[in-house]
Subunit: 356 residues, 4 copies
Amino acid sequence: MSLPLGKADAATTIAPQRTLRFGQIGYGYWGPLMLRNLAKQKNAEVALLADLSEKRLADAQSTYPGLPVTQNPADVLNSSAIDAVYIATPLATHFELAHQALAAGKHVLVEKPLTDNAANARTLIALAEAKGLILMAGHTFEYSPEVEYLRKLYTSGELGRTYYINSSRLNLGLFRRDADVMWDLAPHDFSMINFILGMAPVAVSARGAACVHDGLIDVAYIDLKYPDGIIAHVHVSWLNPNKERRFTIVGDRRMVSYDDTAGNEKIKVYDRGVDRPDYASTFGEFQLSYRYGEIVIPFVKGEEPLSVECQHFAEAIRSGQPPRSNGTVGLHVVQTLEAAHQSIAQGGVYVATQFD
Amino acid sequence: MSLPLGKADAATTIAPQRTLRFGQIGYGYWGPLMLRNLAKQKNAEVALLADLSEKRLADAQSTYPGLPVTQNPADVLNSSAIDAVYIATPLATHFELAHQALAAGKHVLVEKPLTDNAANARTLIALAEAKGLILMAGHTFEYSPEVEYLRKLYTSGELGRTYYINSSRLNLGLFRRDADVMWDLAPHDFSMINFILGMAPVAVSARGAACVHDGLIDVAYIDLKYPDGIIAHVHVSWLNPNKERRFTIVGDRRMVSYDDTAGNEKIKVYDRGVDRPDYASTFGEFQLSYRYGEIVIPFVKGEEPLSVECQHFAEAIRSGQPPRSNGTVGLHVVQTLEAAHQSIAQGGVYVATQFD
Amino acid sequence: MSLPLGKADAATTIAPQRTLRFGQIGYGYWGPLMLRNLAKQKNAEVALLADLSEKRLADAQSTYPGLPVTQNPADVLNSSAIDAVYIATPLATHFELAHQALAAGKHVLVEKPLTDNAANARTLIALAEAKGLILMAGHTFEYSPEVEYLRKLYTSGELGRTYYINSSRLNLGLFRRDADVMWDLAPHDFSMINFILGMAPVAVSARGAACVHDGLIDVAYIDLKYPDGIIAHVHVSWLNPNKERRFTIVGDRRMVSYDDTAGNEKIKVYDRGVDRPDYASTFGEFQLSYRYGEIVIPFVKGEEPLSVECQHFAEAIRSGQPPRSNGTVGLHVVQTLEAAHQSIAQGGVYVATQFD
Amino acid sequence: MSLPLGKADAATTIAPQRTLRFGQIGYGYWGPLMLRNLAKQKNAEVALLADLSEKRLADAQSTYPGLPVTQNPADVLNSSAIDAVYIATPLATHFELAHQALAAGKHVLVEKPLTDNAANARTLIALAEAKGLILMAGHTFEYSPEVEYLRKLYTSGELGRTYYINSSRLNLGLFRRDADVMWDLAPHDFSMINFILGMAPVAVSARGAACVHDGLIDVAYIDLKYPDGIIAHVHVSWLNPNKERRFTIVGDRRMVSYDDTAGNEKIKVYDRGVDRPDYASTFGEFQLSYRYGEIVIPFVKGEEPLSVECQHFAEAIRSGQPPRSNGTVGLHVVQTLEAAHQSIAQGGVYVATQFD
């Protein structure tokens, strides 16, 4: 875990056996979780950690004695010994740091959301492409085994025709200073839904309230329209008495619920659906037949999403293949957030997203 | 339980000791539940039950041998021996039947929602007032001990300033033929929230989808704005894998959840809140202090809401006092439903309610 | 529901179309539940209800106007118009009343436990046999769809080799005056386990405590040894803060849990088991391989056990076939209760049951 | 975290500012959990880790680069630079290793249970006392905030007279090779109950079964008699479909449940009790009055028990004060385990414990 002294190869060509050297900027909430996972990647090391706070750096070193640290993020960006940078700083700084890192020839993994506006995200995407570098958004849940299971279930067609998705992500806190509750929590829901459906929403409607601080939305309700008539509803809040992570996909053949707080029984697949009856009757009456059936709680092997995400980042760097949560995937989430804010400003109307 | 033969007193003057004679029209889903409760009122009897279906009437008589029944609702409306009528028929018939009953000098309890449009509700209110009769909407939950508890908690001020209310009422079915999911389920939520807050909403925004049948909304999300900046969100669905009845009130001093499916632990009062920090810091930073604290599950003595509701109806008739869920209270719910539909038609914008 | 006036046929020969006439003695806790179910049997009626309490009888008549009642149980026993008697009285009176009813030529259903000692149970069995009458114990759970499901699962072999069964039945109250917690609650567990396994226990060990009243056991732990090395443990209590009904069968291929308080998800079948490893290693080490797998919550169609039980009683009377919970099945439960008390008196040693 | 080279002070006199140097033997299941906590103690360090397995040591070093390790436990015991030893090895080796460590003048923390027989535990206690060293058993739950809360609740008298305690600790696995399920799991329950009540049991009765491996008990039911008529029941199993950690204390004024798997709602205090009625009635009847009341879920600040335990060990070493789970406390658990085994061998009779 010491800082390599020799000159680095060009960041874009990393020999299979060469140790991958990560730099990390930011050691707040996500930082420690990610550092642990970056550190345990095979044939890789964390070469330098930057944080503005001396106290945070001391904390990191108490867990990882000998870890090279700095209070100057530029040290990470300028080090020729670093191949890739993980950025876990306040949202407003994502773009600037990621841009500098890419400009310096480093692969970049940015904590979600990718940037605080779509234009900046597009700039990063273009730069990464121009320089042949990996740009990845930290959409953690795209790397969780449960969400992976949901995606497979959806794509298998077992749910039948999908009607709608419902997702709630409620906390008591953690209040952030750099983003409102939508920018803080909803990227998880948006990225999960997009990943499962393999689509991005075409229109967004939202309502929100700033209960505690004027101007800082702390509870929001967001409706998304997807192609094929699928709709989704996302409820995020920093003001709920307990933690809630509930996700439901309703299909006409099966329904599935995913409760991330439910220990070993997170996913339940309901063999329940609704048969659409014929309309032969002169009275236009209908008899809906519900197929009640068994519920299956599949065995999903536990894996830490951050660990999978780190490995995926490393593999993308070595292979040059775009990662699952690449820049464009990150952009879609940012665009959806922008549309949600626009909808709130316009009294809740649906705002079309403009994905190109 | 036999049909009295003698001539009735004027319906509006019922001597304290005189047996109150109920007629009931409709014996579908709610009918049997209510008949049992009307029948067990003290000093009262169900004098006649009407339903179009012979089979339903036979079913009623198998449970209540000797119960007078008829396939002609007019028999109930025309009987001089009947003081009060309970109407549990499809929504489209509420107005006509209630209007005839009031015109015939009978007190009326109509299953919720009161009518299928606000104009009709106003007509009923005016007629009842003109004739000095009781008009009551079957807002069951206003008579539940748990909702009573929530109202007391709210009015006591213990919650502090109330930020928002969240309510979800999800089923797998029961699909109705006479109303969509909003007219079927949301009256419960609207009446509960109005009752607890002692206010009606000033604006409504809604989004819904007709998943199974074209034109029949089976999932909806409704946002309500109340005076004092309180907001509420209601989610209703006929397409959820399991039954869900969750209600949360978020205040700045306490939060309370009410899960109607949670056996003996329906209500939880969280001593959690958010202290609004000062803004003295030059950097505009804030430190939110959450007061985590104990959770209290109050002991709420169980009582069947329908039983309380029946008793309340009988008392209103004898006392002449307007019932809790009187015509105007029923009208507010109908107006909110109308506004919700208007909002859906207008792409989710907030529609002002026009209560007079 | 009126009392037939004509002379009855011999109780033991009931023509297929003839109405079956039930008498009921006792209208306490179980009485009302059973009366409702007896009353709704097809081609049957409750001809007379006896209870010592005038108040209880008035209560019955308020629900069932016109129901013939009496404060003298002998009226039921002596009525030639009654074919079969349901006895729901305090335990100490079971034997005397059942004996008289059988002696009077009536089929008998006795609330569990059948009698308060094994000798009396044997006397009833012999008398019923001599007179060609049905004697049935009110082992409700043998008629529940969930327990039926468990029996089928067990007999199908899907659980593999069954290791043990664990059952807890805990209340806050209801304290009884006529029996301790073992005689009150454990008959449910014993009859369920015997029914599922198709066996009766060969030895019983128990420990109990009389916390509130000297001499009246209100919490007990009972261990049962069955043939084939299967063991079972039963925990009953009147002193638990909440109601608990948990039942687990542990097999080497699958495990199944049954929580009677869990709404629509009462039964869970776990595809988990333990593979017994070989012992080839010189060090005697073993590697146990657990097969973690999915959990299935089967769809078990709800049915009220008491309704099934009543129907089963009626069918047994008409067909002359011994019922599922016949006298001998009832005797086994009584013998197990006697052995449990003997074990407590002897400091918890295993006491052999003596089934003949 | 490097190995000090200088000569150590006498282990029994540690200057306040001097760094405490721990050695650890064993890096299996508990080892990593404890190493992390020992390492983060203030003014302390882990000077040497021993494990027979090279692979385990490599694993430790991947997490703690630079950690001194050895495959020879004697290196820990012989190092003059080590003040205190934590032993997390198979049960059969506890005594020998602890004895050598004490003989070498080192303070000792032994993972629970302290030893595999009472005689050995007594020998360790005597040796520690003779040498003025700390001997501590790793009774983790005595250091958990929830158990601390239960102890305070019990000693406050708020529960009223305590009737009984019920504890179940069920897993699917983890099977051990060095101990049966009683030696593996029951020490937690025994130490919790003893700690809460401030008493050790006077008699023990047990029943168990060896389902998977002949001679290795994998499910057991243990009854404990305490002074003052309090009883306790402990159920441990390696063969349950899911993890269960349920603990209930039943008092005549209040009851409390503690479910260690219940997230933020682990403890519930029920304001329920049983009022013992007078016996004035000539009929000896009694009317038990249950006081149903509210349930309180207290806010218990989360703390990792192992962290508290490590700190407690360090403080005991520095202060010379006997730790909470000292040798005698550890001995009581071992004696109870021995009595339980004796009871099983004797068919479940109560076996008196012989604490001196």
